[in-house]
């Protein structure tokens, strides 16, 4: 997708926000392109919700600039109140008004715009209901809907006035696990079908991966790393990103040689192993101390694993390390092996068919591509 050519719908520039003594957002910046699904991901209290609420106009920023389609909506002095911003929003609690019907909830924003006739409103409400598959429930009292239906109603209400940007504040966190999985996919399909620019906030990495085009990972009021959803998962650049997306093997070492023509670097790990890694788009030099991350599912056991499936593992430059199995944790869809290599604990995630016993001697294999050198 040629992102650079698309126009930015949302522009966030160096925004700052403090409450009493807490510095919630510390100068973060990002752009959201037209039609893009952009997610702020991070642990609770990282400032992601504050950022979303600032964009909605429910909070006022202290400094920086917020633009929605080239209109300055907040810079700490000029402030466009929420009711004048071209946004739709779904709240964590859905915020369905219990004293209104389903139709009453959806019609509320249309009525406030004061430019539609009752007939037009009626049609738009019905279209919105069709869109979220609530057809025929218009006259139901809103509290009589199930959790999933309330979620859809909240979406319909947010979309009915065709906003420029849709804001979603952890909308799936109140659903049970099964329903959440369903709604996740439905939300993805709906936003892509409507083609709306979406800004999403969540602490759930899986949600972020399923839904987003791009993800920004936040911590302590700052964006740590931003990138396409696949890259963030597979090739993190920051140790926090690696950790957040569940890479348990983070090792330290020193760069010995860098071969830029092949795009490979040789490393001496603190554990005593010598391994090969692909270089990244940032500069590294021989002699530099670095950290590397290896996903546990990218490590195979030599001979035991059906390594024929992975051609890369048969190349010359594949890394091999001898290790001892310490613990076998059967988790159903995979087995979590805790192994020791030269006194360094490592974790390997293997297919349930790959069954080893404790104290077994093994050789671990991983390709240079899967050794992510982290940005110092």
């Amino acid at each position: 997708m040629p992102d650079q050519e698309k126009t930015s719908i949302v522009r966030v520039k160096q925004i700052e926000k403090s409450y009493d003594k807490v510095h919630a957002v510390k100068g973060i910046s990002f752009d959201i392109k037209e039609g893009e699904f952009y997610t702020l991901l991070g642990p609770s209290g990282c400032g992601k919700t504050t950022t979303l609420r600032s964009l909605a106009g429910l909070e006022r920023i202290d400094a920086g600039e917020l633009f929605i389609r080239d209109q300055l909506v907040d810079n700490g002095r000029t402030f466009v109140p929420p009711y004048q911003r071209p946004i739709g929003m779904v709240f964590q609690s859905y915020a369905i008004w219990p004293h209104m019907t389903v139709a009453g909830n959806i019609a509320f924003p249309l009525k406030n715009e004061k430019k539609y006739t009752p007939k037009e409103i009626n049609n738009m409400v019905n279209d919105a209901l069709d869109l979220v598959q609530l057809t025929g429930l218009a006259n139901r009292p809103a509290p009589n809907l199930s959790g999933g239906q309330q979620q859809r109603l909240a979406l319909a209400r947010a979309l009915v006035s065709t906003p420029t940007v849709l804001l979603l504040d952890e909308p799936l966190s109140n659903l049970d696990a099964k329903l959440r999985e369903e709604m996740r996919l439905e939300l993805k399909n709906l936003t892509r079908r409507v083609g709306i620019t979406t800004f999403y906030v969540t602490h759930d990495q899986l949600e972020a991966l399923v839904l987003s085009d791009r993800i920004a990972l936040m911590r302590d009021g700052k964006i740590i790393e931003e990138g396409k959803q696949y890259d963030m998962y597979m090739y993190p650049k920051h140790s926090f990103t690696a950790d957040f997306f569940g890479i348990n093997n983070i090792l330290e070492g020193t760069v010995t040689t860098v071969d830029n023509s092949k795009g490979l670097a040789r490393l001496d790990l603190v554990s005593g192993h010598k391994i090969t890694a692909v270089t990244r788009d940032f500069q590294i030099n021989a002699g530099q101390k670095v950290k590397v991350a290896i996903r546990p599912e990218n490590i195979l056991f030599e001979k035991v694993s059906s390594s024929e499936m992975f051609l890369d593992y048969q190349k010359e430059d594949v890394n091999k390390i001898k290790a001892l199995v310490k613990e076998v944790v059967f988790l159903g869809d995979y087995i979590d092996y805790r192994v020791i290599a030269n006194e360094t604990p490592l974790r390997v995630r293997a297919h349930p068919e790959v069954l080893l016993t404790g104290e077994a001697s093994v050789t671990l294999m991983f390709t240079p591509k899967h050794v992510c050198i982290l940005q110092p």
């Binding site: 429910l58 929420p82 009711y83 915020a95």
Partner: protein, 569 residues
């Protein structure tokens, strides 16, 4: 942004400030004026006068002041203790035992609260006055015991206890209901018998909330005016409230300075009590034991005693509610208050009612009463909604919220008669606002007096409403104020209506404030009854009293009906 939108934006910012200023003026100006003029000689609103401590010197060099203080404290202490015991016992019977007819007993106790205190006072005088008291007549002529003199301290205490038991009952019921029965059950399975559980678990856990109830009742009993006024004034036994009334209105010329000094003492005392109350309730949070509802504790089996308990209850009901109402009805039907006899019964008629209805003042008094019962609660509730909005929904600093919180709690320490006195002084001084002698001044007194109650009620309801409901309205193109009034207010409507009914009922019956601010223009039912009573129009007063009860009941029924419709919607 257009200039109109700029204005709207500014309004959104200024509004919270405006609301706080209104609350501040309502609470602080009368209090400030009270303090200010207690240090001045001369009459309020009149030229002359200077700063001096003479009012305090006058008051506290007089032995009578100490007697009044001592008497008030004695009265309030005894009444509080006895009502707590009786109310607590009834609450325990209804909530924790298998006494028959518990639901009936509960509604009986509650219904008696709809009858104004003043009318109970009148009824008990008709029953126990040494000269005309019917009960005294029977005690004396039939049983042969000496007559009981209601015009005494013990007479006042007796009537006040009977009047205040339902309030004590309700507070103790709340305490009992708030207690987690599993705490007692845990004691029971820990080899503790019923008695030691009561002593070592139930009572210690209940102590803070019982203490809070005691302080609350004590404040009511020290500020009460009706019973000390009806019984104590003729008997020349003055308490705090009647002393203020005497000095501010009965003396010619009135001694505002002295009334003022009494009010200041009163204020100080209730401020101390309020602080105790806050401490007691804060402490009680540590014991917070409210658990999921629908968990009824095991009922204690009273065995055959449960019929005796029911008998006690019924006897209490007959004596304290049925008897007073019957005596009022009886007296309202006869031309002259006499012991029942064939002759008296033959002369029964609706003459008193007709004379009341046809009286030239009736239209005005009724109109004033109804107007007051609409204006005071409406203003109160509107103010409470705005305060709740500012405190819970706008982005003002915590400090500012605390200020508003304290301001709206302060009138708890302001007895009605003190509020009335301070408003009197304010509007005697501030002549350019011509409210002196109007109905509005009474309405303002009630608004101030009931700010703590209405703000607490409405705020508690607003807190229950998730803030996101309003924020989503803002995102849906509704302004902040519109969001509050379109979303939150309809959702808290039942609470608002309940608060409205509560204030309306209190405004309709309250005597002391209306009496202190009384003029020919702002006469209401309660003040007219008071005047007629002291004019000796006993039977006419009874007819008017019965009509007043009916009016209050009708209004409360209408209110409850509306509340039910709204909450069902």
């Amino acid at each position: 942004m257009s200039s109109f939108e700029w204005f709207k934006e500014k309004l959104n910012r200024i509004f919270p400030l405006g609301v706080s200023i209104v609350v501040g003026i309502l609470v602080l100006v009368p209090m400030g004026m009270l303090i200010y003029s207690s240090f001045r000689t001369g009459r309020p609103g009149m030229p002359g006068g200077e700063f001096s401590l003479i009012n305090y010197v006058d008051a506290y060099s007089n032995i009578q002041t100490y007697i009044t203080i001592g008497r008030s404290l004695y009265f309030a202490t005894v009444v509080t203790a006895v009502t707590l015991l009786i109310g607590g016992f009834f609450a325990w019977l209804i909530e924790r035992t298998n006494m028959p007819g518990r639901g009936f007993a509960y509604s009986m106790l509650l219904s008696s609260m709809a009858i104004p205190r003043m009318l109970f006072g009148i009824a008990w005088i008709l029953l126990l006055s040494p000269r005309i008291g019917l009960l005294n007549h029977f005690i004396n002529t039939i049983i042969g015991l000496p007559r009981f003199n209601i015009y005494s301290m013990s007479g006042m205490i007796f009537v006040q206890v009977l009047v205040e038991v339902p309030t004590a009952f309700l507070m103790m019921l709340g305490t009992l209901r708030g207690m987690d029965p599993s705490l007692e059950e845990a004691a029971a399975v820990s080899r503790s018998n019923t008695f030691s559980t009561l002593r070592k678990i139930t009572l210690p856990i209940m102590t803070p909330s019982v203490l809070a109830a005691a302080v609350y009742l004590f404040i009511i009993n020290i500020e009460v005016f009706e019973i000390p006024g009806l019984i104590g004034l003729p008997a020349r036994i003055t308490l705090f409230s009647t002393a203020i009334y005497n000095n501010a209105t009965m003396l010619v010329p009135p001694n505002h300075g002295l009334a003022n000094t009494y009010a200041m003492t009163f204020l100080l005392l209730s401020a101390v009590l309020i602080m105790l109350y806050r401490k007691a309730t804060r402490h009680s949070e540590r014991y917070s034991t409210i658990t999921g509802k629908g968990y009824r504790p095991r009922l204690i089996d009273l065995g055959p005693w449960r019929y005796f308990a029911f008998f006690v209850f019924t006897a209490f009901f007959i004596v304290t509610i049925l008897l007073p109402i019957l005596i009022l009805i009886y007296a309202s039907l006869i031309p002259l208050y006499l012991v029942p006899s064939a002759d008296v019964f033959s002369r029964m008629s609706l003459e008193n009612y007709i004379s009341v209805i046809e009286a030239p003042w009736m239209g005005r008094v009724l109109k004033n009463t109804l107007l007051l019962m609409v204006v005071a609660p409406t203003l109160s509730v509107l103010l409470a909604a705005l305060v709740a909005w500012v405190v819970h929904r706008t982005r003002i600093s915590i400090k500012w919220k605390t200020v508003i919180d304290i301001l709206s709690f302060m009138p708890t320490a302001l007895p009605s008669i003190v509020v009335a006195l301070s408003l009197l002084i304010v509007f005697l001084n501030v002549r350019f606002i011509p409210l002196y002698g109007t109905l509005w001044i009474i309405a303002i007194a009630f608004v101030i007096r009931y700010i703590p109650y209405t703000v607490r009620t409405v705020s508690a309801a607003v807190i229950q409403i998730h803030k996101e409901l309003e924020e989503s309205a803002q995102v849906c193109r509704a302004t902040e104020i519109k969001s509050f009034f379109k979303i939150t207010v309809p959702l808290v409507a039942p609470a608002i209506i309940n608060a409205w009914i509560w204030v309306a009922m209190h405004a309709g019956r309250a005597l002391s404030a209306a009496l202190l601010l009384y003029s020919a223009n702002n006469e209401v039912l309660s003040t007219r009854i008071w005047m007629l009573w002291f004019d000796g129009e006993v039977t006419v007063v009874c007819a008017l009293s019965i009509m007043m009860i009916v009016v209050l009941l009708i209004i409360s029924f209408i209110g409850r009906f509306i509340a039910r419709i709204v909450s069902r919607r």
